[in-house]
């Protein structure tokens, strides 16, 4: 599974070429690789562009108005849920573990809690006009967020660099930091 994330980091999504490489490395067939990849929603087999907005629409976010926020995201970006315009992709997501700060969404898997329809529209404009190279959860929360599930308390230095999780070695802005080592750390 980490290999699939590495392949996504190379191409921005999980391409056929990427799956072929993973198959070569692991000694299984490309069909077997795809069987695994297709099981998990985070392995995207088509390009998503620079920014993937995953809006939670599960029960707690639903109760707090997530459907309106999703509509605002779709309308302001012009991208229907499940699609991408090459720059921004919008999707609905199942529970992302931010129920106390509902409604919530992820941008490139970095979290914003306490969203409103208005703030969601501003978020889309910020992505479109600002074209941020890295996506930092604290920065977005300050600009567009509201109530959080709990006190975040600790400043987050890392940031996402593409539409896949920012976890070493799959790609974080602070990847070259001397302490944050991939793998076992030894």
């Amino acid at each position: 599974m980490p290999l699939l994330y590495l392949a996504m980091r190379e191409d921005g999504y999980l391409s056929e070429n990427g799956m072929q490489k993973v198959a070569d490395l692991t000694g299984i067939t490309p069909a077997q690789v795809q069987a695994v990849a297709s099981f998990y929603v985070m392995y995207k087999q088509e390009p998503k562009g620079k920014y993937l907005i995953s809006m939670c629409t599960s029960i707690s976010c639903f109760l707090m108005g997530a459907d309106e926020v999703l509509t605002a995201l779709e309308q302001s970006s012009g991208v229907p849920a499940g699609e991408s315009d090459g720059e921004i992709a919008v999707e609905h997501a199942e529970c992302i573990g931010a129920c106390g700060g509902a409604p919530a969404c992820l941008v490139n898997y970095e979290l914003i809690e306490g969203l409103t329809a208005e703030k969601a529209t501003e978020l889309v404009q910020w992505l479109r006009n600002g074209q941020p190279e890295t996506i930092n959860t604290d920065e977005m929360q300050t600009l567009f967020g509201g109530r959080t599930s709990f006190d975040w308390a600790i400043k987050e230095e890392n940031a996402a660099v593409g539409p896949y999780p920012a976890f070493p070695p799959f790609g974080t802005a602070a990847e070259n930091s001397p302490t944050l080592e991939p793998g076992r750390g030894s």
Partner: protein
């Protein structure tokens, strides 16, 4: 009103740096791990058994018992389940983000007690920030000699690997998680024969424990099982971390003793219902649990046995509160949709049944409900979970399918009039659904 804190104490007292090694050690951290390495496996299993610690992922099974089932062949593995995905649940996220060293110390204790030299911390893919915090803490623990070869200057070796999932609720089920960790599709395995303690990761004996369960271990070792038992004034022991969400004034994670009432939790701890609205219903233990209603359950104590007696469960500790403005049929549809989307597809009753339930509910909500729909909902539910009882008599490998039935069963039982109204709308103008205006 305040309750003693155990697993959220450090982050409460030192919010800005509770994730750092220096702070953790300055607060007495890693003393329990050191003490544990001087004990035997039998002694540690006995202490944990005696403490009454139960699994906090949702199954609420005795942790000590689970450990005692570990079969003889070696190597054995330990897997820490951080695939928290049950709708309504966000407690493990806080433990991972804010106090990762507590988790690592617990992992060392559990690993040593189960003769494990390779432990894995599986964190859901949507949690890259918590995973980075844990990865950093693991790296620090290696450089301090607390992980790796000969930890704490003993001859005991322990490697810990942080693994990131890729978006699949079902991987929170322990055997699905093991398949996922092996690089396969996250489909649950049949039990028997694939009980993890006998045939787990790579078919070797494996212990799978939830993040909150593991986080409790250092405190049990430091303070003893008797202290742990006294944290709750009832038969359940220790504290529990509950995630409260929905229509309450103060949603959030709260560490509480067992045995307080739902009324105290909802009206005191969580500040009551928003806008002084009336409480309509709440889900006591994550999206999988049958609902509770104020007339019957508000003054029940929050314990494993009281919840079970009332036909539901404490589950993952996620409490989802709905006020009187809630369209319960729309809420049930949203819950069922989750399970329909997340079904792994192995078992027909779940794969087909959850989808059918969702389609029937969507049809009702769209204004095309028919008189037969309530009976149909009941029949399809019965095909997934025979008799619609609790705990469910499941027709499937894992409990995902029967979990979808909980919401349906709850609206049929407590809000039948509202469901009936939707079942008679065939041909009428489409009704408003949930938040869509």
């Amino acid at each position: 009103m305040s309750y003693p804190k155990v697993i959220t104490k450090l982050m409460d007292e030192h919010p800005s740096d509770s994730h750092r090694y220096e702070r953790y050690v300055a607060s007495g951290g890693y003393e329990a791990a050191k003490a544990s390495l001087a004990k035997t496996r039998d002694e540690l299993v006995e202490i944990v058994k005696e403490s009454g610690l139960i699994g906090r992922g949702g199954a609420l099974f005795s942790t000590g018992m689970k450990w005692s089932f570990l079969a003889p062949p070696r190597p054995a593995y330990l897997v820490v389940n951080g695939d928290e995905s049950e709708p309504g649940t966000f407690k493990d996220r806080q433990l991972l983000e804010r106090d990762p060293h507590q988790l690592i110390e617990g992992t060392i204790i559990a690993a040593f007690a189960n003769e494990v030299h390779d432990a894995f911390i599986y964190i859901r893919g949507e949690y890259p920030k918590p995973a980075r915090r844990v990865q950093q803490a693991v790296a620090d623990a290696y450089s301090e000699g607390l992980l790796g070869k000969g930890i704490f200057g003993t001859d005991y070796d322990l490697d810990v690997t942080v693994h990131l999932g890729a978006g699949a609720y079902i991987c929170g089920e322990e055997t699905a998680l093991l398949n996922s960790l092996e690089g396969k599709r996250g489909e649950p395995r049949l039990k028997p024969p694939y009980f993890p303690a006998a045939k787990g990761l790579y078919m070797m004996p494996t212990i799978v424990n939830n993040v909150e369960t593991i986080a409790n271990l250092p405190h049990i070792i430091n303070n003893g099982p008797e202290w742990f038992k006294e944290l709750s004034a009832c038969e359940d022991t220790g504290t529990f971390l509950t995630s409260v969400s929905g229509h309450v004034q103060k949603p959030g994670n709260y560490e509480l003793p067992h045995g307080i009432t739902w009324r105290e939790l909802i009206y005191e701890v969580a500040g009551g219902i928003r806008d002084d609205n009336d409480l309509k219903t709440w889900i006591p233990g994550g999206a999988s649990a049958p609902w509770f209603v104020p007339d019957l359950h508000l003054d029940d104590p929050i314990t494993k046995s009281d919840c079970a007696a009332a036909g539901s469960m404490l589950g993952s500790g996620a409490v989802i509160v709905m006020d009187h403005t809630t369209n319960v049929v729309a809420a049930a549809e949203r819950l069922v949709r989750f399970f329909a989307e997340e079904s792994c597809g192995q078992c027909t009753p779940c794969r087909e049944g959850t989808t059918w339930l969702d389609m029937i509910l969507q049809r009702m909500l769209s204004g095309a409900g028919r008189e037969v729909d309530l009976d149909l909902l009941h029949d399809v539910s019965d095909g997934i979970s025979i008799g619609l009882g609790w705990p469910p008599k499941q027709t499937t490998i894992c409990p995902l399918g029967p979990s979808a039935v909980s919401a349906v069963k709850s609206i049929l039982e407590y809000f039948r009039d509202e469901a009936e109204a939707y079942a008679r709308t065939a041909g009428e103008v489409p009704v408003t659904i949930g938040g869509e205006q």
